[in-house]
Structure formats: C-alpha cells, structure tokens
Symmetry: C2
Subunit: 514 residues, 2 copies
C-alpha cells in the first residue's frame, strides 16, 4: 500500500465514498489508488469550479463530506469561488490538492505556486502530507476539521512522493466526531426572557434551524411569543413547501432589507449573524437593523441548533400546532414568459421532494411568493455570492439523492461561469432539469449601475453588462455537452416543456427566454 | 472626478487603453467611469479566466499591459490560473480587483475574503487603494511594477468607497519606466570565454531572446562558437517560420528532456532558468542537466536580453549570416486525421504574420517539426501549465493585433476550461480560427498513468481521464456561443476547411476529430 492508497482507505473508513475530481499528473498515483477502489465513486468535472460546486451541493444534501481531487495551485484556484460559497454554507468538504514531490519544490517548476496562501482564505483547515507514513493521520485531521461544528472546508495538500511511497502505516481509527456544542442555558434563558418583554422581535435563523421539524417548532414558538421568524438572506438548505411552515427570507436589495427590519426592537439570532448589506452603498447603512435594536445571539452557527430550539421551546412554551402551508399554486398566467410565470409553473409541476438549486439571481427574487404551497422540497441557495455555483450544485445534489428530481434555477450570466457542468450531468445521467432565465444581460448589474446614479448606460457599460450580440443559444450549448434541451418564450410553452421534463428522468435544459 | 475616474485617467495616461472585464456591484463606479471614457476599450469575458488569459495574450503581442477588472476575491480567484500562466510568461498586467467599501469589511458580508492572500501567489505587486485621493499614486505604482524588468503582474485592490468618493487629486505624471538592467560585462566575458573552451555547450534562451533579430544573432554566434541554441520548454512568444532561424525547444516528456541535454558539458542561460522536470517522477532526476554540467547564468530574465546578446556577439564574433529557414512544407497526407496532418496543413495554409496560440498539449508536440518552413508567425505557448489559457490567449492576441490572423491550437480537455471565451471571440468579431484537437480524452494523463505503472486503466481511472460518454460536440458548443464551426475527420476535409477558414475574417472553429 502506498500513501495514496492509505488516503483512499482513510476516506472510505470515514464514510467518504464520493470523489469529485479533475486530476493531473501530480495526482496520478492517487488516481491509480482510486482505480483500485471501486467503492469510491469518482465523478469528473471538466473544470475545477464544477468539482468544488458539486462537492458543496453534495454536502448540503448528504450531510457529510465528499472529497475533491484538484491539480496543484491553479487547479485549487479554479475551484476557490465555489469553495467560498461552500465555506459560507458551512458545507463539509475534504479537498485533496496534489503538489509536487517534496524535493521537487526547490526547482520552481512551471506549475509550482504557494498553495497554502491560495487555500487559506476559503478553508477552515489546511495541511500538508510530507510523507506516506503521515498520510493517514493527516487525512483523519482533515476529516475531523471538516466535520467540526456546522461543517468546514479542509484542504489537504498531497505531495506526489507522499502519494507514491510505500507505507506500512495502518489506516487510522475512524474519526470520532466531536459532539455539537450544547446550547448555553444562560443564553437560552436570556432569549426566553426577551421573548416575554413585549418588544417587537425577529428570530433570525439559518443552518439546520431551517429543516422542517425545526421550522415547525420555531413557528410554534413564534405563535406563542408574538415573535416573527425569518431566515437569513442566503441559506445552505431550507425545507419548505406544502405541509411545512412558510418562512420568509431577508431581502437582497438593500432598501428592502432595511424595510424588513423597520420597527424591529430586538433580534434573536439562531445560527445566523447580524444582518448586513450584501454590498455597501453611498449614504446607506451597512447594518440592516434600526438604531438601538437589541441583539441577542442565542446560538452560534457551530452550536447544536435543533437542541437550542428545543431548549428555547421548553422555556417559552409553544402553540399547539405549527401553521403549515396548504398545497396549492396561483393560476398559471398566459402569454409573455416572466420569472413569475416560471415560479407558478414550478408550483404546479414540481414533484414531491424535489431539490431546487437556486442561482437565478435577480430573476428568482419572487420565487418564494408563488411556491410556498408547492410540493415539499429542499431549497439550496448561493450562499457566498460567487456566481457559477448553480449547475455544479445541482450535480452534487443529484449524486447525493439519486431518487429525487433536482431543479436548477439558473441565471444565464452566472450559468456561463461553470457551463461545463452540463457535461457531467450528461455523463452521470443525473436527474436534473436546468431552467435558464435567459434575460441576456447581467440584469442585477444594470440595477446597480442605476443605483450608482450613472444614468443610462453608454457603450462601454453596455458592452460589460449585456449578454446579447450575440445572444447565447443555450439549446445548442446544452446539446453540445450531451444534454437534451428546448426553448420556451411563452408561459404556455414553458408550462408544457416543464411538464414533459418533470415526467422523464435524466438531464434536461429549458432555455426560458424572458 | 471620483477615485474611479482618477484610476481610469491614470491608466490612459500611461497607454493602458484596453480593459478586459467581468465587473460586479462593488466595481460599478469603475464601470461608470469607464463608460465616461470612450478611449478605453472594454472587452467582456463571461468568466474571469477568460479575462485574465486575454490580458496575458494581449501583453505578449502588444508588449504593454492591459487592465483587467475583477469582482472581489472570488472574481480574482477565477482568474488566478491564467494569471499564473501570465506570471510565468512575464506578461505585464494591471489587475483592478474591487473590494467592499473600507468600512464595510468589518461586517464580513457574504462576498468578503482575504484578497491579498489570494493575489500574492500570482502577483509581483499587490496594493490597496484606501482613499480616492490615493488612487492615482497607487495606480502609478501598480503600472510601474507591471512594467519593471521583463514584466509583472500587479494587483490593485480598489475599495468601493475609494472609487466613489470625489477627489481633487491630480492625475500623476506618466510613470517613468525603469531602463532594463544592462548586462553585466563580467558575466558577458565569462560567457564568451566559456564559448571558446571547446566544451559541448547549449545556449538556453527565452523571453525577448526569441524575437527574430535576436534569434538570428544567436544563430550566428552559434555558428561561430559551435554552441547549440535552444529555447526553453515553454515560451511566452517565439518568432519563427520561413525566413527565420529554426530553433528547437526542450521537450516536455521527461525522458526526451533528459535526452536533450545528454552529453552537454556546459549551459549558458540567457533569460532562461536551469531546465527542470515539469513534474517529478519516481527514480528520475529533477534537474535535466547531466551531472557535472557547468551552468553559466549570463543574463537573467529581467535583464535587457537583446543588449546582452549584442554584447556577447561583440565578444565572440559572429558568422556572417544566420541560417534562415526556407519556405516550404511537407506533402499533405491523405486519409486519417492526425496531429501531424493538422500541422502540415497549417504549414501550407497559415498566412504571413499569423499568431499561433498553442494549447494543444499532447497533440501539438510535433507541430514544430512540420512548420519550421511555414509562413513567418508568432508562436505563443502555455507557460505555466495551468490549462484553460488557449481560447482566452487568442482573444488577447487578436485584440492586440487586429490585422493578423490568430490560430488557436486547442486540446479538447483544456478547451473546456474556458470555453466561454468563444462568445467573446464572437462578440468582438475577432479574427481567430480555433482548431480543436478532439481526441476525447485527457491523453496526456493516460500517458502519465501508464508511467506510474498502474497498468491498463480501470473504471474509476477511465471515468476521470476520458472525455467520451458523451463526446463533446464542439460545433454545437461554438454555434451556441455565436461562433461558426465545422467538423473534419479526414486529412482532406481538414485541409479544405482550414483553407476556407483562412480565406475569411472573423471567428471560426474546426473540430478536428482525431
């Protein structure tokens, strides 16, 4: 057994049996080791942003890490944007990044770079394996770090000689996962007291507080105490739809986000942070809370949020039943295809237990309004604002949950970032329907340019913010990567296409021309 | 005038009039400033790897920097792989990376990350502009750093509030470019003496030593002294073809690279580094030189290489004339389409002054053999080994040289990395013909897996190294992004397609099925 085999065995012993990969020469011994291990499922991405985004989507749905396999500093760099999103989502991931043989670094060969400096901004843990004997223990540390608290990004740098050298070191004992931090009773009591003081209160939540049972409990606490329950702006995973509690999220647009907290006298944080502006704007505040609003940080992101909510319920009491949304959808409109028509069609047609991966950016802002009564589903968001996550996230969700329909809500501009992911959907026959919101511009940026007070965009601004001239033909692009596709430009045509896409298995793409 | 205007004015005052861009909200004031400046050409890339790779290709052909515009840490991260290549090519680039307003960083908003840590591994200079008044001076420093020595990567982090705040600071004086370091006479004399000692000598060169006049002078020195002239394995730009000196490069494959230096007793470095293995392999050396080979570092990469070569010629004398290659090409083969048939077709059909951007990886290894007598052209290579540079590099070369035909030799695996660049070729009507070497696998890695001794690849290895199932349809992909395309699977069909592509202007793609 060599170091690469030891790494592979250690991952498998800890239940990490999926590896999203784009390997290179320095990782070839690890590829050979994976080849000797049919228990490991290897999924190729044709770009590293696909690899890391898929690992993020997988972690969110599997509640455990996948491994990634990346080729030196540049391969890691290509995957960093979606690791940024994963880090913000607190998704557990174990990155394996190849590096030159230890003794080869001195030569500054062309692919040499400072991998640690690249890795740290998007990792919770970074480590190197400098000998084959050490690979097992280092891998165990990486796994432990990834599974601590709410979840973390571990980046394990595997030197080529550590991979290819024979070792007699044993596979380490299965990593004992640290118990999640139990909620601090004093903080729970403080929170419960605050909920009795009659002030206008928002309970802001994220993470596992957004699973269906926790959302129900929160709703019952809210009914009992008069507090409003809200999810933060972007969340790794929300369980919602018919038969579940309808939670709203904080808005992205700054004036709406400020309005969300208008009159709020105190805010209770469960896993969430104090709400801040996604960006700064001249003359507008960075904090979304009104002046003087009291902040009660009841449970941190790394705490055991379900236990914290249960403890809070003990203190406050609860209403006898949660207010669950009834199944239903608004009437399907006719005529022009709009983002709202797409949402309503989905509300009608989404099957039970679908997984919705949302990177619709500006086009999807009203999705919630129409889909509270859709069939129950999981809703996964872009958590770090680094676009190019939607198509890969759908890959990961589909690999984690092969029996569930995955629906990608995909803006066209961000879809182009990791468009290669469509090929992986075809290769793996994943049950993903991607809906491209083809507005043919970076619409969000047109809005921002207006906010800046720059007036009507001129030639240079239009050339940087518009995606026409030429328009992207998503049907051709998808077909070129092996994914069947069709175009709709009316509400009726979209409804029909979506119905047919929902009734079949396998990848499909709908270009929704807005 | 605000800070963004000051930045724009400072760039323009220093001759930087091209900006490859993918902006976001935090850069919107810079977008507005660019919009007020029609003198600045803004070229949109639909992914930041396209942006930075284009800036690299532009710098190589324009011999001056372009600016890039990137969106915070993740936007920079997406562009790092091609900045890695540009850094290895010593291409001057001025990156402008937006960051949050200074006072907003404390809130750790979703897109916040440690931009400095990300930037340093791929930059020669990193700086922040923390006030509008300081923007001009900081920009001047960034430009100076990019134009020092052979060229460097400057990363200027522009805080949103520095961009939007009004300033009365003046545009700084045009940056005085430091003169390139003059060659050290003692080193020149040492080199000239070594060339007289009768030992088997290789003169290894790169950078501006590979422009046509320098190559001629080197050839004349070589004739006079008996030394062999070679280019290093990967070079930013070589001028070659008929009427020029035919130089060979060090091989990529380790055993061939070792053979290149078999029997070499001394090596004279002009801009080049000591040749090392691209990767380490078990039981093979990292240095490509035979034991005891003397190394004479005559001129460093940052030195004035043309002056160094002229000074060396003064010391050694030169043969009266360089050996220039005659125009001609091997006979065009019939039947199966092979990489060699593609090279021969190009040798026949390339117009004068074409620019060849080579990311053909394993398929292009024999390109030189057949094209020494092709029409004179510039040959641009992947210098850092980070794949995904070819399509973007062609964009940059075509923007820099709108009157020259640009030919991309593009492996399929690496082409998928930044496939979005095809859209920019269409948008800008660039005169680029992209030839996809569609072997439908990461062929180089199949070779490496074999070298590892792993035997025939099994299921997991094949799923990570093969690009079939489904095969990529490059004609559909290119069409989807607005680029006309066609497929060839015989030598004859390829020749006909290439001839027609050479006779028209504008982007075209040929999928060469191997």
């Amino acid at each position: 057994m060599n170091g690469a085999d030891l790494l592979c065995e250690t991952l498998l012993a800890n239940g990490i049996d999926t590896c999203f990969a784009n390997p290179g020469t320095s990782e070839m011994h690890f590829v050979a080791a994976l080849d000797r291990q049919p228990r490991m499922r290897c999924v190729l991405g044709l770009f590293e942003g696909v690899v890391t985004g898929a690992a993020d989507g997988y972690a969110r749905m599997a509640d455990k890490p996948a491994a990634t396999l990346l080729h030196l500093g540049p391969g890691l760099a290509n995957g960093l944007a979606n690791l940024h999103n994963a880090r913000r989502a607190r998704s557990p991931i174990v990155n394996v990044v190849g590096d030159h043989a230890t003794y080869h670094l001195q030569y500054d060969a062309p692919l040499t770079s400072d991998i640690d400096s690249l890795a740290w901004p998007m990792s919770h843990w970074v480590g190197r394996t400098e000998s084959a004997d050490a690979v097992g223990e280092r891998t165990a540390q990486a796994i432990a770090a990834a599974r601590t608290g709410a979840g973390g990004i571990s980046t394990l740098i595997l030197h080529a000689d550590a991979a290819w050298t024979e070792t007699s070191a044993a596979v380490p004992a299965v990593v004992a996962l640290p118990s999640p931090a139990t909620p601090d009773p004093a903080r729970i009591r403080e929170a419960a007291e605050a909920l009795r003081n009659g002030k206008r209160t928002t309970i802001l939540v994220t993470g596992t507080a957004l699973r269906a049972p926790q959302a129900e409990m929160l709703d019952r606490i809210g009914q009992k105490t008069g507090a409003r329950i809200m999810a933060q702006q972007a969340n790794a995973r929300m369980q919602r739809g018919a038969g579940r509690v309808a939670l709203d999220r904080v808005a992205y647009v700054i004036d709406q986000a400020l309005a969300n907290f208008d009159g709020t006298e105190q805010i209770l944080l469960i896993g969430a942070s104090v709400p801040v502006g996604f960006f700064a704007y001249p003359g507008k505040p960075g904090l979304m809370l009104p002046e003087g609003c009291r902040v009660i940080a009841m449970a941190d992101a790394d705490d055991d949020l379900p236990a914290a909510i249960a403890a809070l319920a003990q203190e406050t009491g609860m209403a006898p039943a949660a207010r669950l949304t009834e199944h239903g959808a608004p009437d399907m409109p006719n005529g022009a295809l709009t983002p709202d028509a797409i949402a309503i069609a989905l509300a009608h047609l989404m099957p039970e237990n679908a997984i919705v991966c949302d990177e619709s950016v500006s086009s999807g802002r009203d999705f919630f309004r129409s889909t509270h009564g859709a069939a129950p589903h999981d809703f996964l968001q872009l958590t770090g604002g680094a676009i190019g996550e939607g198509i890969p996230m759908a890959i990961g969700a589909a690999v984690a949950c092969p029996d569930r329909k995955v629906i990608g809500l995909q803006a066209d501009g961000s879809g182009m970032y990791t468009v290669q992911g469509l090929w992986t959907q075809a290769r793996e026959r994943l049950d993903v329907v991607t809906i491209i919101f083809a507005n043919r511009l970076y619409k969000i940026l047109h809005g921002e340019l207006k906010n800046v007070g720059a007036g009507a965009p001129g030639e240079n601004a239009r050339r940087m913010l518009d995606l026409d001239d030429p328009a992207l033909d998503w049907v051709h692009i998808a077909n070129g990567m092996g994914v069947e596709a069709a175009r709709a430009d009316t509400a009726e045509a979209f409804f029909d296409l979506l119905r047919s896409a929902m009734s079949r298995k396998g990848p499909f793409l709908i270009e929704a021309v807005l």
